[in-house]
C-alpha cells in the first residue's frame, strides 16, 4: 500500500519537482542521517510557540465543552471547572430541540459523502480521460477546466443562488449537493495521478484481451489510481463538510441545514437573546463534536493529504 502511494505521488508529468516530495525526503534522510544536527534553541522555541498558537484554541474549546453553563462563567477558561459535565453537555446537545443537532449532523454527513464521493468519482473519470486518451477538443477542455482552479467556491455562491432561485430549486438538498460535485482542483490532481500511475502498456494489454473501456477503468485503472483517489476524496470531504456560504444563502428550512449553518444560527439566537435559554454549552459542545470527525480522518489518513499537498504545491 505504501509503495503504491509513493509511486502515485511521484509522477513523470511536467510538474515533477515537488510532486516527488516523499522520495527525496528518504534520500536525504539516508544521506544526511549520520551527521546528526544539534537542536537549535531559537528554532525549537519558535516551533513550540507556533504549536501553542495553533492548538490553544482547540484546547480551549475542549476544556470549555466540559463545563455546564453556569460553570462557564465562573471558572478559569484555560482549566477544568469544579465538575466535568462533558457527557451531560453531549446529551443536551443531541437532544436539544428534539434532536435538531443530529439532523444537522446527518445533513452534513449526507452532503459531504454524496457530494465528495460523487465529485471524486467524476474527477477520477475525467482525470483518466485527460491523462490517457486523445479526443476531440481535449486541449480546450483542459484549458477551461484548469483555468477554473483559481475560482473559489465563495465566488460562485451568489451566482449559483441567483440561478437556482430563478429555476425555483433553492431550499432543497440537491441545491447543496449539485454544486459540491464540481471540483476543478480534484480533476487536476486526478489527471496528475492517472498520468503517473497507469502504464500505457497495461491499457493496451487490456484492450488486446478484449476488455471494453468501462471494464478496463474499474478493473485496472481505478485500482492503480486508488491512493490518488483517497487524497482527492479527503480534500473534497473537508471542503463540503466545512461549506458554509452556499448552504447559508440557499437554505431557509432549519431541517435542511448542515452543521455549520445550524451552529451559527444557534449561536445567533443565544447571543441575541432570541433564544430564551442561554445554551452556550450546546454551542460549544456542538462545535467540538463537529470538529472531531475531520481531525480524526486527518490523523488516520496522513499519508494521503501529505502527498496531495505536495502535488498542490506546484499547481499553476
Amino acid at each position: 500500500m505504501s509503495d503504491t502511494a509513493t509511486t502515485a505521488s511521484a509522477p513523470a508529468g511536467e510538474p515533477a519537482p515537488a510532486l516527488g516530495a516523499p522520495e527525496p525526503r528518504q534520500r536525504r534522510l539516508t544521506s544526511r542521517g549520520p551527521r546528526k544536527k544539534r537542536t537549535s534553541l531559537v528554532l525549537q522555541a519558535l516551533m513550540v510557540l507556533m504549536v501553542v498558537y495553533t492548538l490553544l484554541p482547540l484546547y480551549w474549546l475542549t476544556v470549555n465543552a466540559t463545563k455546564s453553563n453556569g460553570e462557564l462563567f465562573r471558572s478559569n477558561g484555560l482549566w477544568l471547572g469544579s465538575e466535568i459535565s462533558l457527557w451531560d453537555n453531549i446529551v443536551t446537545t443531541v437532544t436539544y430541540q428534539d434532536g435538531i443537532y443530529l439532523t444537522w449532523l446527518f445533513n452534513t454527513a449526507l452532503y459531504s459523502v454524496v457530494g465528495a464521493v460523487g465529485a471524486t468519482v467524476i474527477c477520477a473519470w475525467g482525470g483518466y480521460a485527460l491523462a490517457k486518451f486523445d479526443f476531440p477538443a481535449k486541449r480546450l477542455v483542459r484549458a477551461i477546466v484548469f483555468g477554473a482552479i483559481t475560482i473559489p467556491a465563495t465566488a460562485l455562491a451568489v451566482p449559483t443562488f441567483l440561478l437556482f432561485a430563478e429555476l425555483g430549486i433553492t431550499n432543497t438538498r440537491l441545491s447543496i449537493i449539485v454544486p459540491a460535485l464540481v471540483s476543478p482542483f480534484g480533476l487536476y490532481l486526478m489527471t496528475v495521478f492517472a498520468a503517473a500511475s497507469i502504464p500505457d502498456s497495461l491499457l493496451d494489454a487490456a484492450k488486446i484481451d478484449g476488455a471494453n473501456a468501462w471494464t478496463t477503468f474499474w478493473r485496472v485503472s481505478f485500482r492503480l489510481m486508488a491512493p490518488g483517489f483517497a487524497t482527492v476524496l479527503l480534500f473534497n470531504l473537508v471542503h463540503t463538510w466545512n461549506n458554509y456560504f452556499l448552504p447559508l444563502i440557499m437554505l431557509n428550512d432549519p431541517s435542511l441545514y448542515p452543521l455549520t449553518v445550524g451552529l451559527n444560527q444557534l449561536n445567533n439566537q443565544v447571543t441575541t437573546g432570541a433564544n430564551l435559554e442561554p445554551v452556550y454549552n450546546v454551542v460549544l459542545t456542538g462545535s467540538l463534536l463537529a470538529v472531531v470527525p475531520l481531525i480524526a480522518s486527518f490523523l488516520f489518513l496522513q499519508r494521503y493529504w501529505q502527498s496531495g499537498l505536495a502535488a498542490g504545491s506546484v499547481k499553476q
Binding site: T150, V291, L294
Partner: protein, 301 residues
C-alpha cells in the same frame, strides 16, 4: 487474423476516439451546471435593473457604473485590500519561517509539530470563528478573564478598531499550517546535490537558506500567495459569523461578499448583487492571471 494484425496495429490510435470524451462528460456536465451556467446567468442578469413600475429592463452596464461609485461596495473593497496587504504577508512569512525551521532538521518532535500546526485546516471556518469569537469575548472569553485577573485594560478584539486584525488572526490561524505544508513539501523536493555544492562553496545554514532554499521555493510561494490573495477578496465566513458577537463593529457591507449576500435577498437589488458578484469574480481572474504571468516571466529568466 487477430494474431497477424495485432503487432502492427496497436501503436496508432484511431484519429477520432470518443471514449475519452465520454469519461470526461460527467465532469463537463457538473461544471456546466455548477460553474458556467451560474456565472453566465449572473453576468446576464447584471445587465438589467428592476423598477417598481415597468418591471425588469435592460440597462447595459449601469449596475457596474453604480458599483464603481457605491460607497458601501468601495468601503468593502478597500477593507479587504488593507486586510490582504497586512494579513497575507504575515501568514506567508510565518508559514515560510516554520517550513524553513522544520526543514533545517534542528528541531525535535517534527512530526508532532507538523501535525499540530496543520490541524486548524481541518476545523470548519465557522467553528474557528465561533471559537475565537468566544475567546475574544468578555463574557467567558480569555481576554475578559485576563483583564479581570490582572487589572489590565486590554481593548476588546471585537471593538471597531480591532475587529479587522482579530479576523486576520482567525484567518492566519486557519491557513498558516496549510501554507507551511505546501512550502515544506517544496523544500523537501530540493535535490541534495544543491546543498552539497553550497557546502563545498563554504555556505553556512543562513546563506543556504537564502541562496538555495528561497529560490527553490519561489513557485510554491507564488501559489500560496496567489491563493491567499484570492481568499482575502472572498472574505465572508469569518466576519459573517463574528457579526453576531460584534454587531456594532461589523456592518452588512463589511466585505464585498457580505454586501453581495445582503443584496441578493433584497428584491429590488437582485440584479445589482449579480453585478457585485461578477466584479468580485473578475478581480479574482485578473489577480490569478497577473500572478501567473509574473511567475512565468520569473521562471523563464
Amino acid at each position: 487474423m487477430a494474431a497477424v494484425s495485432a503487432p502492427a496495429a496497436p501503436r496508432r490510435r484511431p484519429p477520432r476516439d470518443w471514449t475519452g470524451l465520454a469519461f470526461v462528460a460527467p465532469f463537463l456536465l457538473v461544471f456546466g451546471v455548477g460553474v458556467v451556467a451560474p456565472l453566465g446567468y449572473a453576468s446576464g442578469l447584471s445587465l438589467f435593473q428592476d423598477q417598481l413600475i415597468g418591471g425588469r429592463s435592460f440597462v447595459g452596464l449601469q449596475n457596474y457604473v453604480d458599483a464603481a461609485t457605491d460607497p458601501r461596495f468601495l468601503d468593502g473593497i478597500s477593507r479587504v485590500g488593507i486586510f490582504l496587504v497586512v494579513q497575507v504577508p504575515i501568514m506567508i512569512g510565518l508559514a515560510l519561517l516554520v517550513a524553513l525551521a522544520l526543514d533545517s532538521g534542528r528541531v525535535r518532535g517534527m512530526r508532532f509539530m507538523r501535525l499540530g500546526i496543520f490541524m486548524p485546516y481541518a476545523v470548519p471556518s465557522v467553528v474557528a470563528a465561533l471559537m475565537w469569537g468566544f475567546i475574544y469575548g468578555d463574557q467567558f472569553g480569555l481576554v475578559g478573564q485576563l483583564n479581570a485577573a490582572t487589572g489590565l485594560a486590554l481593548p476588546s478584539p471585537l471593538s471597531q478598531s480591532w475587529v479587522l486584525p482579530a479576523i486576520g488572526n482567525v484567518v492566519t490561524w486557519e491557513f498558516v499550517g496549510y501554507n507551511m505544508l505546501i512550502l515544506y513539501a517544496a523544500l523537501r523536493a530540493v535535490p541534495e546535490e544543491l546543498y552539497e555544492a553550497a557546502e563545498i562553496d563554504g555556505a553556512g545554514e543562513i546563506r543556504k537558506a537564502f541562496s538555495v532554499k528561497l529560490p527553490a521555493l519561489r513557485p510554491a510561494l507564488w501559489v500560496a500567495t496567489l491563493f491567499s490573495i484570492i481568499g482575502s477578496f472572498q472574505l465572508f465566513n469569518e466576519p459573517n459569523v463574528l457579526q453576531t458577537l460584534a454587531p456594532g463593529s461589523i456592518s452588512t457591507h463589511f466585505t464585498p461578499n457580505m454586501y453581495a449576500y445582503q443584496l441578493a435577498f433584497n428584491a429590488n437589488q437582485v440584479t445589482y448583487s449579480a453585478a457585485v458578484a461578477v466584479v468580485l469574480g473578475l478581480i479574482t481572474v485578473v489577480v490569478a492571471y497577473t500572478a501567473q504571468r509574473m511567475t512565468a516571466r520569473q521562471e523563464s529568466r
